[in-house]
Amino acid sequence: MAAPPSIEAPRTNIGGPRRRSPRSKGNFELNSWLFMRGSGLLLLVLVLGHLFVNLMTGEGVHQIDFAFVAGKWANPFWQFWDLALLWLAELHGTNGLRTIINDYSSKPTNRFALKALLYFSALVVLILGTLVIFTFDPCIDPSSTLSVCSAK
């Protein structure tokens, strides 16, 4: 008779015992686990809509230029669509990479350096992206032929 399926004990204490902060982390890991699932569902709609409108409609990738972006962001609907996409995707991706760093980087100094770099890049992407969406000026080009700019 075949041996019953067995699951071996996971590897423990790679690189020595884990350091835990003395204070409880509360429900952070549970909340981030839930966030990955909730944001994942929203991102499915936001990303597929983004890809469909930009790449499948009209002339696809050839239609994308400054005027195309100006046309989309003239509508608050697309501003908030892109804002939600930016924040959810960046936070979902940052938390995913945090998990991967926790899994594969066992030396405390490496972990700290990788996470510091990760959080710094997330901050740059979130601040830059948010500013770009809300400070966008379609008339930045003085010779613009866009109708919103000649009306002034």
Binding site: A2, A3, P4, P5, S6, I7, E8, R37, G40, L41, L43, L44, V47, L48, L51, L55, M56, E59, G60, V61, H62, I64, D65, F66, A67, V69, A70, L86, A89, E90, G93, T94, G96, L97, I100, S121, V125, L128, G129, L131, V132, T135, F136, D137, I140, D141, S144
Partner: protein, 125 residues
């Protein structure tokens, strides 16, 4: 030892490989997002700066790479739904293996029309 490996429910099977692919596609999408926010930020510099940045996407080689990006996004999203069903649907764990084939079918249904349309746009001028 050999029998315990042969009897493993997870290692070397659908559950493990979908997990590996989920991580790889997730990391790839994360790095693309970083580049994509920076290329889009060129709209704050000048129309010319943005148009020359986005012209990169119209290059045929990058057009094919973009197909790979969309494949990664579709896989990651569809497999993510499978993970949610395993976690929250009472019968999810029992059908996790069958659901990988559901993911594969949905992937083909969504990806093939996209690929045909996108490649004809990229190479059709």
């Amino acid at each position: 030892m050999a029998s315990s490996v042969a009897g493993t429910l997870y290692r070397g099977r659908e559950g493990m490989w979908t997990w590996v692919l989920h991580r790889i596609t997730g990391v790839a999408i994360f790095f693309f997002l970083f580049a994509h926010v920076i290329d889009t930020a060129m709209v704050r510099v000048s129309p010319h700066a943005y148009n020359s940045a986005v012209d990169t996407y119209k290059n045929p080689v990058v057009g094919v790479l973009e197909l790979g990006l969309v494949a990664a996004v579709l896989y990651h999203g569809l497999n993510g739904v499978r993970i949610i069903l395993v976690d929250f649907w009472e019968k999810g764990p029992r059908y996790q293996r069958q659901m990988t084939y559901g993911v594969a079918v949905l992937f083909v249904v969504l990806f093939v029309p996209f690929a045909i349309r996108h490649l004809s746009i990229v190479f059709g001028g």
